[in-house]
Structure formats: C-alpha cells, structure tokens
C-alpha cells in the first residue's frame, strides 16, 4: 500500500507540474494584461510597473521565476486587490465554496443513489418513471437555469430562503447546494438504476434468492455494493463538474466564493490569482480522484491496491 501511495503521489506532482506549465502559457496567450486596462498610465509609468512585477522579462524567464516561487508555495500578490497575498485570498474565499461543493456532492450522490434504487426496485412503475423524469430534468437543465428558477420560486415568491449572498449562515447555502447537486444527482440516479437492474439479473443474486434471502436483503446486502462500483468511477468527473459548476452558481447567488473570485480574476487578467486558483482547483481534483481510487479498493475486493494479494 505504501509503495502504491508513493507512486501515486509522484504522479500527482507530475500532473500538477504539467497543469501549471500549460496554464501559465495559455494565460500569457490571452490578449491584455493586468495593467494594460488602466488607460491613465503613460508609457513610462507602464514600463515602470511592468518592470516592478517582472512582466518585462522574456516569457521563459517569467516562467522560471514563477515555477520557483510556486514550489515554495508563494503564488505572489494579486494585481487586482492591491498588495493582497494570493494564498490568503484563496484561503479566505475557499470556505463557502468548499461547503457548497461538499454539500452538493453528498446530496447529489446520496439523493441519486436513493432515487436510482427506487427506480430499479420498482422497475416500470410510476416510481421508476418519476425518478427517470427527475433525472432527465437534472441532466438537461443547466445548473444556472435551475438556480434562477430556485431563486425566483423559493427565494422571491416563497420567501422561505435567502435569494443570494452569504449573510444568513447555513441557510444561504441551501439553494445553491440544490442547484449544484442536480447534475450529480441525475447522473448517479441513472447509473445506480442501470447497474442495479444489471446486478439483480446476475447468477449470484439468483443464488442469494435460492438461499431464502428476502427482496430487501438481496437489494441491500448483495446487490447494492456491486452496483456502487461503476458509480465510484464517475465520482471523480462528478466532483470535477461540481468545481466548474460552482463557478457559475456562485456568480448567480452572489456568493463570495472562490469561483466568483476566479471569474473576476480572469476578466481582469489577474495573472497570479488565476494561477493560484487553478493550482488550488487542480490539487483539489487530483486529491478527489486519489480518494476515489482508494474507495474503489474498499468497495471492490478484486481491485485491492496492495499490489500482490499474498
């Protein structure tokens, strides 16, 4: 196990290095620069500011300096927020995003599993069609449309929950969480339904029936764990979807999260903040994928990651 984890960590570092490199050059290819948008500066002033931030140096040199600092976990200062340290900016903003992401992931997968199980166990009944309908809505309606609908009906018309912002504590997180969770919920519901139906048709389920197991025992003791395996496979991409989804949803709900900050950073070519946020997201995603791989081994004994099984 230790050997496996070490190997994975090395790969993770390599991945991060590649992501950092690509993002750096892609970002530099974007038109504009953090200071070009200030029309009041004269040429001399511009040159002076560029020199101060090292933007006058050739690209490979800038890249070298950047990478060197990044290894020391120094992402520089933001161009946009005067003198603010990027690492601090990210940490301050990560809280709401993190809460939303985790809540949406839990709601999405657990809700999806329940919905999918109902659909599979009550195949071709009203229950099944209802759950299918919800899943189709979840997949086809983009999260920002769904978010606006929630805001209007529950926030404005109903007045039960805050329409936006992050000022009512946990209550503020409910609507954005639901908006964010719909996609993963729909995906996992479909996955679980298909898998459960397939697993329920296997020989080992017939054998479990032949042992005298009841319908519920078969569904939960025998079928569920086997049906879960493919869902774990898509958990990584689902989590990635939540990260990107939160960019949009945070904007709509005006939540001071990291996604919102990221969008602003791109709009104003805030190089160091873009790089910092990208690296933060990448680390997060790579960690999620790593956790998913470990989970795999826990659920499916055939994929225990110990290497040899002696």
């Amino acid at each position: 196990m230790a050997k496996y984890i070490l190997k994975r960590v090395l790969y993770m570092i390599l991945t991060l290095f590649l992501i950092a490199t690509f993002t750096f050059f892609l970002m530099k290819m974007l038109p504009g620069s953090p200071i070009a948008s200030s029309p009041k500066l004269t040429h001399e002033q511009l040159a002076a500011v560029e020199a101060k931030y090292g933007l006058d140096k050739p690209l490979p040199v800038q890249y070298g300096i950047y990478m060197k600092k990044m290894v020391q976990l120094d992402f520089g200062v933001s161009y946009q927020f005067k003198g603010a340290n990027v690492t601090e900016l990210i940490i301050n903003r990560a809280g709401p995003s993190f809460l939303l992401g985790i809540q949406a992931l839990i709601l999405g997968t657990i809700g999806g599993i329940i919905l999918g199980m109902i659909a599979a166990l009550r195949q071709n009944t009203v229950w099944d069609y209802g759950s299918t309908l919800i899943a189709i809505f979840g997949i086809s309606i983009p999260s920002f449309v769904f978010a606006s609908l929630l805001q209007y009906w529950i926030g404005v018309k109903g007045g039960f929950l805050p329409v936006g912002l992050w000022e009512n504590g946990w209550q503020s997180s409910i609507l954005p969480t639901i908006a964010l969770a719909m996609g993963p919920l729909a995906t996992s519901a479909r996955f679980i339904r298909t898998e459960m139906i397939e697993v329920l048709g296997t020989d080992y389920i017939t054998l479990a029936k032949a042992k005298g197991a009841s319908g519920l025992e078969i569904a939960f003791k025998h079928a569920f764990r086997n049906a879960l395996i493919p869902l774990i496979t898509v958990m990584g991409p689902l989590a990635a979807g939540l990260v990107t989804g939160s960019l949009v949803v945070e904007q709509i709900f005006a939540i001071p999260g990291i996604g919102e900050q990221f969008v602003k950073a791109i709009n104003s070519s805030d190089y160091s903040l873009i790089m910092g946020t990208t690296m933060f997201f990448s680390v997060l995603l790579i960690l999620v994928i790593f956790i998913v791989d470990i989970l795999y081994g826990i659920v499916d004994p055939r994929i225990r990651l110990t290497g040899g099984n002696k």
């Binding site: 296997t202 020989d203 080992y204 017939t206 054998l207 479990a208 029936k209 032949a210 042992k211 005298g212 197991a213 009841s214 319908g215 003791k221 025998h222 764990r225 086997n226 395996i229 659920v299 499916d300 004994p301 055939r302 099984n309």
Partner: protein, 355 residues
C-alpha cells in the same frame, strides 16, 4: 419408498413479446427420499425451467403456472406466497448452479456467503454459524477452511468455487438438493472431482437430489433414476439401467446413439437430425415425431400417453401401443438391449450381463 416431492401435471408458460412460450407442458414425476433423479435433455427441453419452477426462482412478472401442482410436505409450492417460499428456499430445498464463476457474490467473503443461510434459517449465534461454515468447508474438501473463510471468490479456482456453492447448498441439511448442471462449466478433471464429491456427500447426508444434465456419462455415474425431457415434457422415465439398457422412446434412442463410445469403431458420431420444436407453437402429437424416423401417422395427431414398461419404467411413445408395428431400434441400442434381462433382445447365452 417415501415420496418427498411430487410434481403433478405441471404446465408453465413464459409471456414474451412474441407470445406465450409453453416451456413446460405437463410434467409428472416424483422424487423419493434419498434417491438421485437425473433429468436429461437437450438445451431448451425445459429441464432447468422445471427445477427453477420448483424453487420458484423464475421471474414472477413473465412466467405463469398454467396448471398442475408441486407437492412438498403436503404443501403446493405453486400456491405459496413469497414469504412462505423464502422459508423453504435454502432450508428444505436448495440449489447448486451451473457456473461457479458467476454464482458467488464478488464483493462478499465466502465465509459470509456460507453463513448467510445458516443465520437465516437456523436459530444460532454468529460464532456458532461460523463454526458450522468451517465444518461445511471441510466437508466439501476445502483445505485450510479457517483462513479461506475470509477470502473473496476471486481468490478461488472454478472447482473450489463450485465446492463453496455446494457448501452453501448443504448449509441447512436440505431435504432436496437441486443440482442444475453443476459440472458443465468445469473442465473434465474437475468435473470428475465434483461428481465424486457429490456422490460421497450423498452417502454422508440423507438428501434427495435432482440432477440436471445433458451429459449422459454423468447420469450413469450419479443417478438412481432418469427422466428424459423433450420440448417441455418427460418422454421417458425409469431406473438408470432401464433407460440405458432398455430404452423405449425414439428420442432416448437418439440421445444414447449420439453418445461417443469406446467400443464402436464408427468414424462419425451420430447426431439427431433437425432442431427442437418452437414452443411458441408446440406441435400436435408427439413433439419428437418430426425428427424421428420411427414416427407414425398417429404421432402427428395425438399426444402419446405414458405406457408402462415395468413398475419403474414408463415411456410416452405410441410405439408401445399394442397395435403399433414392431420396429427395430438403431444397432447401438440393440447392442445395449442385449445386456438387459427383460428386453426383447436379451441374449444371456451370448455373454450378456446376468444379475
């Protein structure tokens, strides 16, 4: 001998998109205490469906009992509720399946899988169930049972897995054990081991066995009695000797002739011509008539009843009717009949086997 299971005039259909498939069309047999009854027949003859019907393992939504009874312990199994059936499955009647590679749950330790029916049907503590499971593994010849309890199916070979499936089936000392082609998916040497094990076990525990197979070699090895099925009906039933050495139904003749033999120097192995009938529209009369060179006019029109050959031997063919002309069975069958004391070709003076 005491009858433990009686199947009476069982008829069962599957509802498919194409229409109603009459998979079982009036099956009658009984199972006596402690005996092994083999059901043989080609694919689609209804042998597996019959036993799955006894276990009530067919999908409720698409299968339907049209007629008949399955009597066990005075109860008609076709009429029981799901709950009542769950108490019988695994306890009184249990089953061994064809493919051991797919019949064990891949994400559950084999210990748990063996303990499941014990905990379900017997009122014992978990530690007691564990001991019983280890004993079962010993019984089916698994080395190091304590360690292996904690392992998963993928850590076992095909033969070992079938031993585990057998251990599960025997967990509650069932009165009836149904073995649905238990050796078909195994290679030949393992087949022999599993058959040996089953014969051995039958001596140790007093269980009646229904053994489904299409392998006549296996039948000769394990069975006391044999039922030959064809297109959803039993066409001939009798003791092993009666079926092997004095068969009466042309289908049984065909089956036995298509068995490779070491004595015969023929170059080409016999095969029954044609294919089994479509059970969406089962033929009138004897379903085998269309493939049989011995078919008569009446075979096309009326279903033959069972004619008695001996107290234990019955066959459903018009050839046994007193008015039927005498036909000559295939040469290999005559060779077999020569060795059977009550058959018309018996030649005791010529070195036939005397009892």
């Amino acid at each position: 001998m005491e009858k433990i299971l009686e199947v009476k005039n069982l008829e069962l259909s599957f509802h498919t998109f194409a229409g109603e498939v009459k998979a079982i069309r009036g099956v009658n047999f009984d199972l006596k205490k402690g005996e092994t009854l083999a059901i043989v027949g080609e694919s689609g003859s209804g042998k597996s469906v019959t036993t799955k019907a006894i276990m009530r393992l067919l999908p409720e939504s698409s299968s339907e009992f049209k007629n008949g009874q399955i009597l066990f312990n005075g109860k008609d199994l076709t009429k029981l509720t799901d709950k009542e059936m769950q108490k019988i499955r695994g306890k009184d009647i249990s089953m061994i399946f064809q493919d051991p590679m797919t019949s064990l749950n891949p994400t559950m330790t084999i210990g748990k899988q063996i303990m499941e029916p014990i905990l379900k049907h017997q009122n014992v503590a978990k530690s007691e169930a564990q001991k019983m499971a280890i004993d079962l593994l010993k019984l089916v010849g698994m080395p190091q049972p304590e360690q292996r309890m904690k392992q998963y199916p993928h850590q076992f070979s095909g033969g070992q897995r079938q031993r585990i499936v057998i251990a599960i089936a025997l967990a509650c000392n069932p009165k009836i054990l149904i073995a649905d082609e238990p050796t078909t998916a195994l290679d030949v040497t393992i087949q022999a081991q599993i058959l040996e094990l089953m014969k051995d076990l039958q001596k140790k525990i007093d269980t009646s066995i229904i053994f489904i197979t299409h392998d006549l070699g296996v039948v000769a090895n394990v069975a006391d009695r044999v039922a030959v099925m064809y297109s959803g009906k039993i066409v001939e039933i009798g003791t092993v000797d009666e079926i092997f050495y004095n068969p009466q139904h042309p289908y049984t003749w065909g089956l036995l002739s298509s068995m490779p033999s070491l004595d015969v120097q023929e170059e080409k192995l016999y095969a029954i011509p044609g294919t089994p009938p479509d059970l969406l529209n089962p033929p009138k009369g004897d379903a085998f008539a269309l493939r049989s060179e011995y078919a008569m006019q009446i075979d096309m029109e009326e279903t033959p009843p069972f004619f008695k050959v001996s107290d234990t031997h019955y066959a459903a063919t018009w050839l046994l009717h007193p008015d039927a002309p005498e036909v000559t069975p295939p040469a290999t069958i005559i060779e077999r009949m020569k060795r059977f004391p009550n058959s018309r070709y018996y030649e005791s003076a010529n070195g036939g086997i005397l009892k």
